[in-house]
Symmetry: D2
Subunit: 139 residues, 4 copies
Protein backbone atom coordinates (compact mmCIF):
# COMPACT_ATOMS: atom_id res chain seq x y z
CA UNK A 1 0.00 0.00 0.00
CA UNK A 2 1.21 3.50 -0.79
CA UNK A 3 2.68 5.71 1.92
CA UNK A 4 0.09 7.92 3.63
CA UNK A 5 1.36 11.31 4.83
CA UNK A 6 -0.89 13.03 7.36
CA UNK A 7 -1.07 16.84 7.39
CA UNK A 8 -2.72 18.90 10.11
CA UNK A 9 -4.35 21.74 8.20
CA UNK A 10 -4.55 24.95 10.21
CA UNK A 11 -6.23 28.35 10.25
CA UNK A 12 -3.09 29.99 8.88
CA UNK A 13 -3.17 27.75 5.79
CA UNK A 14 -6.56 29.19 4.82
CA UNK A 15 -7.42 32.32 2.88
CA UNK A 16 -10.45 34.61 3.11
CA UNK A 17 -12.50 32.08 1.12
CA UNK A 18 -12.21 29.92 4.29
CA UNK A 19 -10.34 27.16 2.45
CA UNK A 20 -6.66 26.35 2.07
CA UNK A 21 -4.90 28.87 -0.18
CA UNK A 22 -4.00 27.28 -3.52
CA UNK A 23 -0.28 28.01 -3.21
CA UNK A 24 -0.14 26.02 0.07
CA UNK A 25 -1.20 22.85 -1.74
CA UNK A 26 1.99 22.19 -3.74
CA UNK A 27 3.83 22.90 -0.45
CA UNK A 28 1.77 20.16 1.23
CA UNK A 29 2.43 17.80 -1.69
CA UNK A 30 6.18 18.36 -1.44
CA UNK A 31 6.07 17.83 2.31
CA UNK A 32 4.37 14.52 1.54
CA UNK A 33 7.07 13.45 -0.93
CA UNK A 34 9.72 14.48 1.59
CA UNK A 35 7.80 12.37 4.13
CA UNK A 36 8.00 9.38 1.78
CA UNK A 37 11.80 9.70 1.77
CA UNK A 38 11.88 10.01 5.56
CA UNK A 39 9.75 6.90 5.94
CA UNK A 40 11.35 4.71 3.28
CA UNK A 41 14.92 5.99 2.98
CA UNK A 42 15.40 7.01 6.60
CA UNK A 43 15.83 10.71 5.84
CA UNK A 44 14.23 13.46 3.79
CA UNK A 45 15.84 15.83 1.27
CA UNK A 46 17.88 17.36 4.08
CA UNK A 47 19.66 14.11 4.95
CA UNK A 48 19.80 13.18 1.26
CA UNK A 49 21.77 16.36 0.45
CA UNK A 50 23.75 16.72 3.67
CA UNK A 51 24.65 13.11 4.47
CA UNK A 52 24.30 11.16 1.21
CA UNK A 53 25.57 13.61 -1.42
CA UNK A 54 22.65 13.49 -3.81
CA UNK A 55 19.56 15.59 -4.44
CA UNK A 56 16.34 15.34 -6.41
CA UNK A 57 15.19 18.77 -7.60
CA UNK A 58 11.87 19.19 -9.38
CA UNK A 59 11.57 19.79 -13.11
CA UNK A 60 7.79 19.66 -13.38
CA UNK A 61 4.70 19.75 -11.20
CA UNK A 62 1.15 19.30 -12.42
CA UNK A 63 -1.72 19.55 -9.98
CA UNK A 64 -5.46 19.20 -10.36
CA UNK A 65 -7.50 20.78 -7.61
CA UNK A 66 -10.67 18.73 -7.12
CA UNK A 67 -12.22 19.89 -3.85
CA UNK A 68 -11.50 22.55 -1.22
CA UNK A 69 -9.27 21.68 1.75
CA UNK A 70 -10.18 22.93 5.23
CA UNK A 71 -8.92 22.44 8.81
CA UNK A 72 -11.95 20.24 9.59
CA UNK A 73 -10.14 17.01 8.74
CA UNK A 74 -6.57 15.80 8.51
CA UNK A 75 -5.28 15.90 4.93
CA UNK A 76 -4.07 12.44 3.99
CA UNK A 77 -1.57 12.53 1.15
CA UNK A 78 -0.91 9.24 -0.62
CA UNK A 79 2.54 9.21 -2.22
CA UNK A 80 4.13 6.75 -4.62
CA UNK A 81 6.89 6.76 -7.22
CA UNK A 82 5.35 5.93 -10.60
CA UNK A 83 8.37 5.86 -12.94
CA UNK A 84 12.11 5.57 -12.49
CA UNK A 85 14.43 6.65 -15.27
CA UNK A 86 18.22 6.64 -15.26
CA UNK A 87 18.40 10.13 -13.73
CA UNK A 88 14.76 10.97 -13.14
CA UNK A 89 11.74 9.93 -11.13
CA UNK A 90 8.00 10.58 -11.30
CA UNK A 91 5.78 10.85 -8.26
CA UNK A 92 2.07 10.69 -7.72
CA UNK A 93 0.51 12.48 -4.74
CA UNK A 94 -3.21 12.33 -4.02
CA UNK A 95 -4.61 14.42 -1.16
CA UNK A 96 -7.81 13.35 0.52
CA UNK A 97 -9.91 14.67 3.37
CA UNK A 98 -12.61 12.52 4.94
CA UNK A 99 -12.49 10.22 1.90
CA UNK A 100 -12.88 13.04 -0.65
CA UNK A 101 -10.11 13.57 -3.21
CA UNK A 102 -8.99 17.18 -2.85
CA UNK A 103 -6.05 17.23 -5.26
CA UNK A 104 -4.06 14.97 -7.52
CA UNK A 105 -0.50 15.81 -8.44
CA UNK A 106 2.17 14.41 -10.71
CA UNK A 107 5.76 15.45 -10.20
CA UNK A 108 8.99 14.85 -12.07
CA UNK A 109 12.35 15.18 -10.36
CA UNK A 110 15.87 14.61 -11.58
CA UNK A 111 18.60 13.07 -9.49
CA UNK A 112 21.66 15.23 -9.02
CA UNK A 113 25.04 15.10 -7.46
CA UNK A 114 24.54 17.43 -4.48
CA UNK A 115 27.94 19.09 -4.79
CA UNK A 116 28.08 19.82 -8.51
CA UNK A 117 24.28 20.21 -8.90
CA UNK A 118 24.52 18.18 -12.15
CA UNK A 119 22.35 15.25 -13.20
CA UNK A 120 23.57 11.88 -11.96
CA UNK A 121 21.97 8.47 -11.44
CA UNK A 122 20.95 7.89 -7.81
CA UNK A 123 23.00 5.50 -5.64
CA UNK A 124 22.22 1.83 -6.33
CA UNK A 125 20.44 1.26 -3.02
CA UNK A 126 18.17 4.23 -3.78
CA UNK A 127 17.42 2.78 -7.22
CA UNK A 128 16.53 -0.53 -5.56
CA UNK A 129 14.40 1.20 -2.93
CA UNK A 130 12.41 3.11 -5.54
CA UNK A 131 11.96 0.00 -7.68
CA UNK A 132 10.59 -1.88 -4.68
CA UNK A 133 7.90 0.77 -4.21
CA UNK A 134 7.18 1.59 -7.82
CA UNK A 135 3.50 1.71 -8.43
CA UNK A 136 2.37 -0.31 -11.43
CA UNK A 137 0.89 2.22 -13.80
CA UNK A 138 -2.72 1.72 -14.79
CA UNK A 139 -1.97 3.11 -18.24
CA UNK B 1 3.17 43.80 -24.02
CA UNK B 2 2.38 41.38 -21.21
CA UNK B 3 2.27 42.52 -17.59
CA UNK B 4 5.63 42.17 -15.79
CA UNK B 5 5.41 41.40 -12.07
CA UNK B 6 8.61 42.05 -10.14
CA UNK B 7 9.46 39.87 -7.13
CA UNK B 8 12.24 40.56 -4.65
CA UNK B 9 13.61 37.12 -3.87
CA UNK B 10 15.00 36.85 -0.34
CA UNK B 11 17.17 34.64 1.86
CA UNK B 12 14.09 33.15 3.49
CA UNK B 13 12.77 31.95 0.11
CA UNK B 14 15.85 29.75 -0.32
CA UNK B 15 16.57 26.26 0.94
CA UNK B 16 19.87 24.60 1.90
CA UNK B 17 20.69 24.11 -1.80
CA UNK B 18 21.06 27.93 -1.84
CA UNK B 19 18.25 28.37 -4.36
CA UNK B 20 14.56 29.16 -4.02
CA UNK B 21 12.63 26.22 -2.56
CA UNK B 22 10.44 24.62 -5.23
CA UNK B 23 7.21 25.10 -3.28
CA UNK B 24 7.80 28.88 -3.17
CA UNK B 25 7.64 29.08 -6.97
CA UNK B 26 3.91 28.40 -7.47
CA UNK B 27 3.40 30.92 -4.65
CA UNK B 28 5.38 33.50 -6.65
CA UNK B 29 3.42 32.64 -9.80
CA UNK B 30 0.11 33.15 -8.01
CA UNK B 31 1.35 36.45 -6.57
CA UNK B 32 2.10 37.46 -10.16
CA UNK B 33 -1.40 36.55 -11.40
CA UNK B 34 -2.87 38.42 -8.44
CA UNK B 35 -0.64 41.34 -9.47
CA UNK B 36 -2.10 41.21 -12.98
CA UNK B 37 -5.58 41.68 -11.48
CA UNK B 38 -4.35 44.55 -9.30
CA UNK B 39 -2.79 46.27 -12.29
CA UNK B 40 -5.51 45.68 -14.88
CA UNK B 41 -8.71 45.33 -12.84
CA UNK B 42 -7.81 47.70 -10.03
CA UNK B 43 -7.82 45.04 -7.31
CA UNK B 44 -6.53 41.54 -6.68
CA UNK B 45 -8.43 38.45 -5.53
CA UNK B 46 -9.15 40.17 -2.22
CA UNK B 47 -11.08 43.03 -3.81
CA UNK B 48 -12.57 40.64 -6.37
CA UNK B 49 -14.13 38.53 -3.60
CA UNK B 50 -14.87 41.24 -1.04
CA UNK B 51 -16.06 44.10 -3.24
CA UNK B 52 -17.12 42.54 -6.54
CA UNK B 53 -18.72 39.26 -5.49
CA UNK B 54 -16.80 36.91 -7.73
CA UNK B 55 -13.78 34.68 -7.39
CA UNK B 56 -11.47 32.69 -9.63
CA UNK B 57 -10.19 29.57 -7.86
CA UNK B 58 -7.62 27.32 -9.51
CA UNK B 59 -8.45 23.94 -10.99
CA UNK B 60 -5.03 23.15 -12.47
CA UNK B 61 -1.44 24.32 -12.30
CA UNK B 62 1.39 22.97 -14.43
CA UNK B 63 4.89 24.29 -13.94
CA UNK B 64 8.19 23.54 -15.63
CA UNK B 65 11.25 24.49 -13.63
CA UNK B 66 14.00 25.50 -16.05
CA UNK B 67 16.70 27.21 -13.98
CA UNK B 68 17.34 27.89 -10.28
CA UNK B 69 16.09 31.15 -8.76
CA UNK B 70 18.27 33.06 -6.30
CA UNK B 71 18.18 36.42 -4.49
CA UNK B 72 20.88 37.78 -6.84
CA UNK B 73 18.36 39.27 -9.26
CA UNK B 74 14.77 40.39 -9.18
CA UNK B 75 12.42 37.70 -10.49
CA UNK B 76 10.38 39.16 -13.35
CA UNK B 77 7.14 37.26 -13.90
CA UNK B 78 5.39 37.85 -17.20
CA UNK B 79 1.67 37.18 -16.91
CA UNK B 80 -1.02 36.93 -19.57
CA UNK B 81 -4.42 35.33 -19.98
CA UNK B 82 -4.24 32.83 -22.85
CA UNK B 83 -7.82 31.53 -23.08
CA UNK B 84 -11.21 32.71 -21.89
CA UNK B 85 -14.08 30.26 -21.67
CA UNK B 86 -17.60 30.92 -20.44
CA UNK B 87 -16.67 30.18 -16.82
CA UNK B 88 -12.94 29.52 -17.03
CA UNK B 89 -9.66 31.21 -17.83
CA UNK B 90 -6.13 30.06 -18.63
CA UNK B 91 -3.02 31.96 -17.60
CA UNK B 92 0.58 31.82 -18.66
CA UNK B 93 3.29 32.92 -16.24
CA UNK B 94 6.96 32.95 -17.19
CA UNK B 95 9.54 33.79 -14.53
CA UNK B 96 12.90 35.20 -15.59
CA UNK B 97 16.01 36.37 -13.77
CA UNK B 98 18.64 38.39 -15.56
CA UNK B 99 17.16 37.30 -18.91
CA UNK B 100 17.18 33.58 -18.06
CA UNK B 101 13.85 31.70 -18.02
CA UNK B 102 13.56 30.11 -14.59
CA UNK B 103 10.07 28.66 -14.82
CA UNK B 104 7.07 28.50 -17.12
CA UNK B 105 3.62 27.88 -15.75
CA UNK B 106 0.16 27.32 -17.13
CA UNK B 107 -2.84 27.76 -14.89
CA UNK B 108 -6.56 27.17 -15.26
CA UNK B 109 -9.06 28.94 -13.05
CA UNK B 110 -12.84 28.89 -12.96
CA UNK B 111 -14.95 31.90 -12.26
CA UNK B 112 -17.27 31.57 -9.29
CA UNK B 113 -19.93 33.48 -7.51
CA UNK B 114 -18.09 34.43 -4.30
CA UNK B 115 -21.04 33.79 -2.02
CA UNK B 116 -22.26 30.44 -3.28
CA UNK B 117 -18.79 29.23 -4.41
CA UNK B 118 -20.42 27.86 -7.57
CA UNK B 119 -19.27 28.33 -11.16
CA UNK B 120 -20.60 31.47 -12.83
CA UNK B 121 -19.53 33.57 -15.82
CA UNK B 122 -17.50 36.64 -14.80
CA UNK B 123 -19.12 40.11 -14.94
CA UNK B 124 -19.25 41.53 -18.49
CA UNK B 125 -16.61 44.19 -17.83
CA UNK B 126 -14.25 41.48 -16.60
CA UNK B 127 -14.91 39.44 -19.72
CA UNK B 128 -14.12 42.52 -21.83
CA UNK B 129 -10.98 43.25 -19.82
CA UNK B 130 -9.65 39.72 -20.25
CA UNK B 131 -10.46 39.71 -23.95
CA UNK B 132 -8.54 42.97 -24.41
CA UNK B 133 -5.42 41.35 -22.93
CA UNK B 134 -5.80 37.85 -24.32
CA UNK B 135 -2.53 36.66 -25.77
CA UNK B 136 -2.79 35.22 -29.26
CA UNK B 137 -1.80 31.58 -28.90
CA UNK B 138 1.16 30.43 -30.96
CA UNK B 139 -0.40 26.99 -31.31
CA UNK C 1 1.55 18.11 32.07
CA UNK C 2 1.51 20.73 29.35
CA UNK C 3 0.32 19.89 25.84
CA UNK C 4 3.12 18.72 23.51
CA UNK C 5 2.71 19.65 19.84
CA UNK C 6 4.90 17.67 17.47
CA UNK C 7 6.18 19.34 14.28
CA UNK C 8 7.88 17.52 11.44
CA UNK C 9 10.55 19.97 10.31
CA UNK C 10 11.35 19.70 6.59
CA UNK C 11 13.92 20.74 4.00
CA UNK C 12 11.65 23.55 2.82
CA UNK C 13 11.59 25.08 6.31
CA UNK C 14 15.38 25.58 6.18
CA UNK C 15 17.41 28.40 4.68
CA UNK C 16 20.90 28.38 3.14
CA UNK C 17 22.43 28.30 6.64
CA UNK C 18 21.00 24.73 6.78
CA UNK C 19 18.73 25.55 9.72
CA UNK C 20 15.10 26.57 9.99
CA UNK C 21 14.54 30.12 8.74
CA UNK C 22 13.79 32.45 11.66
CA UNK C 23 10.44 33.59 10.27
CA UNK C 24 9.19 29.98 10.21
CA UNK C 25 9.57 29.74 13.98
CA UNK C 26 6.70 32.03 15.04
CA UNK C 27 4.63 30.13 12.43
CA UNK C 28 5.49 26.86 14.21
CA UNK C 29 4.68 28.42 17.59
CA UNK C 30 1.26 29.57 16.35
CA UNK C 31 0.59 26.13 14.87
CA UNK C 32 1.35 24.76 18.33
CA UNK C 33 -1.09 27.13 20.08
CA UNK C 34 -3.71 26.28 17.46
CA UNK C 35 -2.94 22.61 18.23
CA UNK C 36 -3.62 23.25 21.93
CA UNK C 37 -7.09 24.52 21.03
CA UNK C 38 -7.71 21.51 18.78
CA UNK C 39 -6.67 19.13 21.55
CA UNK C 40 -8.36 20.81 24.50
CA UNK C 41 -11.31 22.69 22.99
CA UNK C 42 -12.06 20.27 20.15
CA UNK C 43 -11.28 22.74 17.39
CA UNK C 44 -8.63 25.28 16.41
CA UNK C 45 -9.03 28.94 15.47
CA UNK C 46 -10.97 27.87 12.39
CA UNK C 47 -13.72 26.17 14.35
CA UNK C 48 -13.54 28.88 17.03
CA UNK C 49 -14.33 31.58 14.47
CA UNK C 50 -16.62 29.62 12.15
CA UNK C 51 -18.65 27.58 14.62
CA UNK C 52 -18.34 29.30 17.98
CA UNK C 53 -18.37 32.99 17.07
CA UNK C 54 -15.26 34.10 18.91
CA UNK C 55 -11.65 34.68 17.99
CA UNK C 56 -8.36 35.29 19.77
CA UNK C 57 -6.07 37.53 17.70
CA UNK C 58 -2.54 38.26 18.84
CA UNK C 59 -1.46 41.57 20.30
CA UNK C 60 2.12 40.65 21.18
CA UNK C 61 4.67 37.95 20.51
CA UNK C 62 8.11 37.75 22.10
CA UNK C 63 10.48 34.97 21.12
CA UNK C 64 13.98 34.05 22.23
CA UNK C 65 15.88 31.87 19.83
CA UNK C 66 18.20 29.60 21.82
CA UNK C 67 19.43 26.92 19.40
CA UNK C 68 19.11 26.16 15.69
CA UNK C 69 16.24 23.92 14.51
CA UNK C 70 16.89 21.31 11.81
CA UNK C 71 14.97 18.44 10.16
CA UNK C 72 17.05 15.90 12.12
CA UNK C 73 14.54 15.65 14.95
CA UNK C 74 10.88 16.33 15.49
CA UNK C 75 10.29 19.74 17.05
CA UNK C 76 8.29 19.29 20.24
CA UNK C 77 6.43 22.44 21.22
CA UNK C 78 5.14 22.60 24.78
CA UNK C 79 2.16 24.94 25.05
CA UNK C 80 0.36 26.29 28.09
CA UNK C 81 -1.80 29.28 28.97
CA UNK C 82 -0.05 31.29 31.68
CA UNK C 83 -2.52 34.08 32.44
CA UNK C 84 -6.21 34.66 31.83
CA UNK C 85 -7.61 38.17 31.96
CA UNK C 86 -11.19 39.27 31.34
CA UNK C 87 -10.60 39.64 27.59
CA UNK C 88 -7.01 38.47 27.19
CA UNK C 89 -4.81 35.44 27.53
CA UNK C 90 -1.08 34.78 27.70
CA UNK C 91 0.59 31.70 26.28
CA UNK C 92 3.96 30.11 26.75
CA UNK C 93 5.43 27.98 23.97
CA UNK C 94 8.78 26.23 24.33
CA UNK C 95 10.22 24.37 21.33
CA UNK C 96 12.66 21.55 21.90
CA UNK C 97 14.55 19.14 19.66
CA UNK C 98 16.20 16.06 21.12
CA UNK C 99 15.94 17.58 24.60
CA UNK C 100 17.55 20.90 23.63
CA UNK C 101 15.51 24.10 24.03
CA UNK C 102 15.45 25.79 20.62
CA UNK C 103 13.10 28.68 21.33
CA UNK C 104 10.94 30.12 24.07
CA UNK C 105 7.98 32.32 23.25
CA UNK C 106 5.46 34.36 25.14
CA UNK C 107 2.27 35.45 23.41
CA UNK C 108 -0.63 37.67 24.34
CA UNK C 109 -3.99 37.37 22.61
CA UNK C 110 -7.26 39.16 23.13
CA UNK C 111 -10.62 37.49 22.89
CA UNK C 112 -12.95 38.98 20.32
CA UNK C 113 -16.44 38.59 19.04
CA UNK C 114 -15.77 37.04 15.63
CA UNK C 115 -18.42 39.05 13.81
CA UNK C 116 -17.72 42.53 15.11
CA UNK C 117 -13.97 41.94 15.64
CA UNK C 118 -14.26 43.79 18.97
CA UNK C 119 -12.91 42.69 22.35
CA UNK C 120 -15.26 40.47 24.31
CA UNK C 121 -14.83 37.99 27.19
CA UNK C 122 -14.65 34.39 25.98
CA UNK C 123 -17.62 32.05 26.51
CA UNK C 124 -17.85 30.72 30.09
CA UNK C 125 -16.90 27.17 29.14
CA UNK C 126 -13.77 28.51 27.43
CA UNK C 127 -12.91 30.50 30.54
CA UNK C 128 -13.31 27.34 32.61
CA UNK C 129 -11.22 25.31 30.15
CA UNK C 130 -8.37 27.79 30.24
CA UNK C 131 -8.48 28.02 34.02
CA UNK C 132 -8.24 24.24 34.28
CA UNK C 133 -5.01 24.29 32.28
CA UNK C 134 -3.50 27.50 33.57
CA UNK C 135 0.13 26.99 34.42
CA UNK C 136 1.14 28.26 37.83
CA UNK C 137 3.65 31.01 37.18
CA UNK C 138 7.07 30.58 38.71
CA UNK C 139 7.36 34.32 39.21
CA UNK D 1 15.25 59.31 7.19
CA UNK D 2 14.84 55.62 7.92
CA UNK D 3 14.66 53.07 5.09
CA UNK D 4 11.10 52.38 3.89
CA UNK D 5 10.45 48.84 2.64
CA UNK D 6 7.30 48.46 0.57
CA UNK D 7 5.37 45.17 0.72
CA UNK D 8 2.55 44.22 -1.62
CA UNK D 9 0.11 42.39 0.63
CA UNK D 10 -1.86 39.72 -1.21
CA UNK D 11 -4.92 37.48 -0.84
CA UNK D 12 -2.72 34.52 0.07
CA UNK D 13 -1.26 36.43 3.04
CA UNK D 14 -4.73 36.68 4.60
CA UNK D 15 -6.62 34.23 6.76
CA UNK D 16 -10.37 33.61 7.11
CA UNK D 17 -10.68 36.73 9.29
CA UNK D 18 -9.91 38.64 6.05
CA UNK D 19 -6.71 40.12 7.46
CA UNK D 20 -3.07 39.14 7.22
CA UNK D 21 -2.34 36.00 9.26
CA UNK D 22 -0.30 36.87 12.36
CA UNK D 23 2.56 34.51 11.49
CA UNK D 24 3.09 36.32 8.16
CA UNK D 25 3.91 39.55 9.99
CA UNK D 26 7.32 38.59 11.43
CA UNK D 27 8.08 37.23 7.92
CA UNK D 28 7.29 40.67 6.48
CA UNK D 29 9.41 42.34 9.16
CA UNK D 30 12.38 40.11 8.36
CA UNK D 31 11.94 40.77 4.63
CA UNK D 32 12.12 44.47 5.53
CA UNK D 33 15.35 44.08 7.52
CA UNK D 34 16.80 42.03 4.65
CA UNK D 35 15.70 44.88 2.36
CA UNK D 36 17.64 47.35 4.52
CA UNK D 37 20.80 45.31 3.95
CA UNK D 38 20.12 45.14 0.21
CA UNK D 39 19.65 48.89 0.05
CA UNK D 40 22.46 50.01 2.33
CA UNK D 41 25.04 47.21 2.11
CA UNK D 42 24.41 46.19 -1.49
CA UNK D 43 23.20 42.70 -0.66
CA UNK D 44 20.86 40.92 1.74
CA UNK D 45 21.56 37.99 4.06
CA UNK D 46 22.20 35.80 1.02
CA UNK D 47 25.09 37.88 -0.25
CA UNK D 48 26.25 38.51 3.32
CA UNK D 49 26.62 34.76 3.95
CA UNK D 50 27.67 33.65 0.46
CA UNK D 51 30.00 36.45 -0.60
CA UNK D 52 31.10 38.20 2.60
CA UNK D 53 31.50 35.35 5.08
CA UNK D 54 29.38 36.71 7.90
CA UNK D 55 25.82 36.27 9.08
CA UNK D 56 23.42 37.90 11.53
CA UNK D 57 21.02 35.36 13.02
CA UNK D 58 18.23 36.46 15.33
CA UNK D 59 18.27 35.91 19.07
CA UNK D 60 15.07 37.76 19.93
CA UNK D 61 11.99 39.21 18.25
CA UNK D 62 9.29 41.19 20.01
CA UNK D 63 6.29 42.40 18.07
CA UNK D 64 3.25 44.44 19.02
CA UNK D 65 0.30 44.08 16.68
CA UNK D 66 -1.60 47.37 16.62
CA UNK D 67 -4.00 47.19 13.67
CA UNK D 68 -5.02 44.60 11.07
CA UNK D 69 -3.13 44.47 7.76
CA UNK D 70 -5.05 43.93 4.52
CA UNK D 71 -4.29 43.91 0.77
CA UNK D 72 -6.04 47.30 0.40
CA UNK D 73 -2.83 49.29 0.82
CA UNK D 74 0.87 48.69 0.44
CA UNK D 75 2.51 47.87 3.77
CA UNK D 76 5.33 50.34 4.36
CA UNK D 77 7.92 48.99 6.79
CA UNK D 78 10.30 51.51 8.29
CA UNK D 79 13.56 49.88 9.33
CA UNK D 80 16.45 51.23 11.35
CA UNK D 81 19.27 49.84 13.49
CA UNK D 82 18.86 51.16 17.02
CA UNK D 83 21.89 49.74 18.85
CA UNK D 84 25.23 48.28 17.81
CA UNK D 85 27.18 46.14 20.24
CA UNK D 86 30.49 44.41 19.64
CA UNK D 87 28.81 41.29 18.23
CA UNK D 88 25.14 42.25 18.25
CA UNK D 89 22.68 44.65 16.71
CA UNK D 90 19.14 45.80 17.49
CA UNK D 91 16.59 46.71 14.85
CA UNK D 92 13.32 48.58 14.90
CA UNK D 93 10.69 47.83 12.27
CA UNK D 94 7.39 49.71 12.13
CA UNK D 95 4.77 48.62 9.61
CA UNK D 96 2.19 51.13 8.42
CA UNK D 97 -0.71 51.05 5.98
CA UNK D 98 -2.30 54.25 4.79
CA UNK D 99 -0.68 56.13 7.67
CA UNK D 100 -1.91 53.71 10.35
CA UNK D 101 0.68 51.85 12.47
CA UNK D 102 -0.08 48.14 12.08
CA UNK D 103 2.83 46.65 13.99
CA UNK D 104 5.98 47.63 15.81
CA UNK D 105 8.84 45.20 16.20
CA UNK D 106 12.15 45.11 17.97
CA UNK D 107 14.74 42.56 16.95
CA UNK D 108 18.14 41.52 18.26
CA UNK D 109 20.64 39.74 16.05
CA UNK D 110 24.17 38.57 16.68
CA UNK D 111 26.93 38.75 14.13
CA UNK D 112 28.53 35.44 13.27
CA UNK D 113 31.31 34.05 11.18
CA UNK D 114 29.32 32.33 8.41
CA UNK D 115 31.55 29.26 8.26
CA UNK D 116 31.92 28.43 11.94
CA UNK D 117 28.49 29.83 12.94
CA UNK D 118 30.15 31.37 16.02
CA UNK D 119 29.80 34.94 17.29
CA UNK D 120 32.23 37.40 15.74
CA UNK D 121 32.31 41.19 15.33
CA UNK D 122 31.13 42.33 11.89
CA UNK D 123 33.69 43.57 9.33
CA UNK D 124 34.80 47.15 9.98
CA UNK D 125 33.00 48.59 6.98
CA UNK D 126 29.76 46.99 8.21
CA UNK D 127 30.32 48.49 11.64
CA UNK D 128 30.83 51.91 10.03
CA UNK D 129 27.74 51.46 7.83
CA UNK D 130 25.52 50.59 10.81
CA UNK D 131 26.91 53.46 12.85
CA UNK D 132 26.12 55.88 10.04
CA UNK D 133 22.45 54.81 10.11
CA UNK D 134 22.04 54.25 13.82
CA UNK D 135 18.85 55.86 15.02
CA UNK D 136 19.25 58.05 18.08
CA UNK D 137 17.19 56.38 20.76
CA UNK D 138 14.38 58.44 22.25
CA UNK D 139 14.93 56.75 25.60
Amino acid sequence: MAYQHKIRVAWGDCDPANIVYTARIPWFALDAINGWWEEKFGGGWYQMEMDHGFGSPFVNMNLDFRAPITPRHRLICEVAPTRLGRTSIDWRVVGRQDGVTCFEGRFTCVFTDARSFTKAPPPDEVKALIEAHLEPSAE
